[in-house]
């Protein structure tokens, strides 16, 4: 069975690094895998989506609407925006954080109310995470990325050690310990 994971958020949040780590864990776990994203325009603070798919043999690099087993969103509004990707019984993991798009910041439009409730209406399984809070508790808020990967790891069947090995390799040497802690905190969060 092929597993499809959509990671989304805002340009600058480190989405592409996260999906790179996930991809490497998949590969090291012996799976075929593909990942797809768009460079260029999207990075200037716009919406960013990365598609990751792994399994015995993966054909399509893209997840279609209704095809994502998991959506991992680094920002609330982006989860709402990409909800059409979720599979009927899929899981939506949302970092409970709002980043204001320019039209909102400049007062032209409002950031929608009750984003989480709206997501709930369309997602049979919803996990809401205070990623920033957990990252703060590790002592380094820059570990937000890894915290969220920890949460994701709980929902997919890739070995814990494989995750740690890739994270150790990818993060700056001085931050290995705090990142391991961040991953574990995400993994064990409720």
């Amino acid at each position: 069975m092929t597993k499809s994971i959509l990671i989304c958020g805002v340009g600058g949040q480190g989405i592409l690094l996260s999906s790179d780590i996930l991809a490497e864990v998949c590969m090291n776990s012996g799976y075929d895998m593909k990942k797809s994203e768009v460079h260029g325009m999207a990075q200037r603070g716009g919406s960013v989506i990365s598609h990751v798919r792994y399994g015995e043999k993966v054909h399509s690099p893209l997840i279609g609407e209704g095809g994502a087993d998991i959506i991992l969103s680094y920002e609330k509004l982006e989860a709402l925006r990409n909800l059409s990707y979720i599979e009927k019984n899929g899981t939506v993991i949302v970092n409970d954080m709002a980043i204001l798009p320019i039209p909102v910041a400049s007062g032209e439009v409002e950031y929608p109310q009750d984003v989480i409730d709206k997501i709930k209406k369309h997602a049979s399984n919803l996990v809401v995470i205070d990623g920033l809070g957990i990252a703060k508790s590790t002592g380094n808020i820059r570990t937000l990325n890894v915290v969220l990967l920890g949460v994701l790891a709980r929902h997919i069947e890739l070995a814990y050690e494989n995750w740690l090995a890739v994270i150790e390799e990818r993060v700056p040497k001085k931050t290995i310990e705090v990142n391991k802690l961040a991953f574990e905190s995400g993994y064990r969060s409720k």
């Binding site: 340009g11 054909h59 399509s60 690099p61 059409s84």
Partner: protein, 571 residues
């Protein structure tokens, strides 16, 4: 050995393994990473060239000497070098010649959705379409073989979802190639009409031979399973076909031009019905229909935008279209970064209510609200000619409130000939060059003004003032876009000048700037909530409870908001 590579990185690896000697490009999403990755192989001499045509001609010359060459570009880049491309089809390839075009279905970062497979047919060169990173690598090697065997450039067409998807690739060794050296060949390389008439016949013969090759090409592969449905497909669409029709028979065209019509006919005969699954234009479908082979394609599958498994399934009625959620979701468009040197210029253009013919780069974002300071954006290098044309057509009605806006990399790309046109044809156009010392849009590549080459060597940095003066522009002024008063003074003065003038707005891209400035703060007491600072469109400023607030994690201390604030509340 295995590696996890994007399609672009795989093309670079393919170039290395195929013994490519020389490679060149002008950056352009989604093709940029090809040359960035090639630059890591010292065995290949690689360059960023000022534009796609200079890159192409440079590679043609290297091929004259027997070197194996690769030139890469985004789809619209092929328009820029089309003249060379068509001629080189007649001239042929002494050393293997691979032309890589990365098309952008869905226009993730492009101005159109042109399908460059048509170029293969128009220029009469063979076309290869990889469907994965592995094939992207392997097909470069095959392209070199075909090129040398049939004496022709070969078009290798990727699309965004091949270029920017990563997959597992089996690596090979380099097959070293030593250029044969230069041998004069007047009849082939000087395409005077007399020679070209002969060459055209050669090209038509070559096409016949290539068609035979394509009919038997091992990568034009049939996967025979259940023949009740047969699908003919190519490129990334093959992957969607495999997901949606796992048991159908599939004919995957790796070489879709010259079109292997007999192979298709044989395949179609075996199948009860034939579907064609391809992105954008009905290229395969039309070829089939010309041959009288019945098939279903674009009557079901969208022509506009990219495909994905769900879209394909919905097109053939295998899945219901998902209802769109009805929530109102504010858009999140890309924006100019906090501290972007372009911001002050567009703020000023907006203030002065100028008509600004624009160009392509990060600065195109200056056309979006709240800056709204760009009136046109056609393609790279169009801004100056557009302004000049407007000026000549409408004269004094528009002349004093008109400016052409162009980035530094874009100016070197195709901005110089139109500036010559202005001087030569007695224009009075005002040109604003946004010199942020880099090609920012595509991820900060070097260009002729930066003083560094793709391979990391130091070189001369062309001076924009010298270039403009050399062309004959007498009035050139350099301004600092972080100084709003000066910016306004110079721009409003120059648009009124009765002679061509160039204003160079010079400030390094904030993402490259090493200088750290203190983030600013809004004094809550003094702020009246007048929202003037919000007109900069700076992502670091927002309104909270009717007061402006600066996000200190985003603020770069450029001070534009402080300069705009009428109450001196920001500092």
């Amino acid at each position: 050995m295995k590696a996890f590579l994007s399609g672009d990185e795989a093309v670079a690896r393919g170039a290395y393994e195929a013994g490519i000697n020389v490679a060149s490009a002008y950056p352009g999403t989604p093709s940029t990473e090809i040359l960035e990755a090639i630059a890591k192989y010292p065995e290949i001499y690689s360059t960023w060239s000022p534009n796609e045509k200079t890159a192409f001609d440079f590679c043609s010359g290297a091929s004259f000497g027997g070197a194996r060459v690769l030139v890469a570009m985004k789809h619209v880049g092929l328009n820029v070098c089309a003249d060379s491309f068509f001629s080189m089809s007649y001239i042929g390839a002494t050393g293997g010649f691979v032309v890589v075009s990365c098309d952008d279905p869905e226009m993730h970062s492009s101005q159109n959705e042109q399908d460059n497979r048509h170029y293969a047919r128009a220029a009469k060169v063979p076309l290869l379409e990889p469907s994965s990173s592995q094939e992207a690598k392997d097909f470069v090697k095959i392209a070199v073989e075909i090129s040398e065997k049939f004496d022709t450039p070969v078009l290798l067409r990727l699309t965004t979802r091949i270029s920017h998807s990563k997959g597992i690739v089996e690596l090979g060794d380099r097959n070293e190639h030593t250029p044969k050296g230069y041998v004069k060949d007047f009849k082939k390389r000087v395409i005077l009409p007399a020679n070209a008439r002969v060459r055209h016949r050669v090209v038509e013969n070559r096409l016949k031979e290539l068609k035979d090759f394509s009919e038997n090409f091992e990568f034009n592969k049939i996967e025979d399973i259940d023949t009740s449905v047969g699908v003919i497909t190519s490129g990334v669409s093959y992957n969607y076909t495999k997901e949606v029709f796992p048991t159908a028979s599939i004919l995957k065209l790796a070489m879709s031009y010259p079109f292997p019509s007999e192979l298709c006919r044989r395949f179609a005969k075996r199948c009860k019905k034939v579907y064609v699954i391809e992105e954008n234009d009905p290229f395969i479908e039309e070829n089939l229909k010309i041959e009288g082979i019945k098939c279903t394609g674009k009557e079901k599958i969208p022509l506009v935008g990219e495909l994905n498994p769900t879209k394909v399934a919905v097109s053939f009625g295998l899945q219901k279209a998902k209802k769109k959620t009805t929530f109102k979701i504010p858009p999140r468009p890309p924006v100019l970064c906090p501290g972007c040197p372009h911001t002050g210029v567009f703020y000023t253009i907006n203030k002065l209510k100028l008509v600004a013919t624009g160009d392509i780069g990060c600065y195109t974002l200056g056309g979006l609200p709240p800056l709204n300071a760009m009136d046109s954006c056609v393609c790279m290098g169009a801004s100056i000619g557009n302004a000049f044309g407007l000026e000549k057509a409408l004269g004094s009605e528009i002349k004093d409130r008109l400016v052409a806006v162009i980035g530094d990399s874009t100016f070197f790309h195709t901005g110089i000939p139109p500036l010559i046109d202005v001087v030569y044809n007695k224009g009075k156009t005002t040109v604003l060059i946004l010199d942020n010392r880099t090609t920012a849009m595509t991820g900060h590549q070097e260009h002729p003004g930066t003083g560094k080459t793709l391979m990391g060597e130091k070189t001369v940095a062309l001076d924009l003032v010298d270039v403009c003066k050399g062309i004959g522009v007498k009035h050139t002024y350099t301004i600092d876009p972080y100084d709003l008063a000066e910016t306004k003074r110079v721009i409003s003065r120059e648009v009124k000048r009765n002679a061509p003038s160039v204003i160079i707005s010079k400030r390094e891209c904030i993402l490259l700037s090493k200088k750290k400035r203190k983030p600013l703060k809004v004094d809550e007491e003094t702020c009246t909530g007048c929202k003037l600072c919000l007109r900069l469109g700076c992502p670091a400023i927002s309104l909270q409870e009717e007061k402006a607030i600066v996000d200190e994690t985003l603020c770069t201390g450029c001070t534009l908001c402080a300069q705009v604030c009428p109450k001196d509340a920001i500092g």
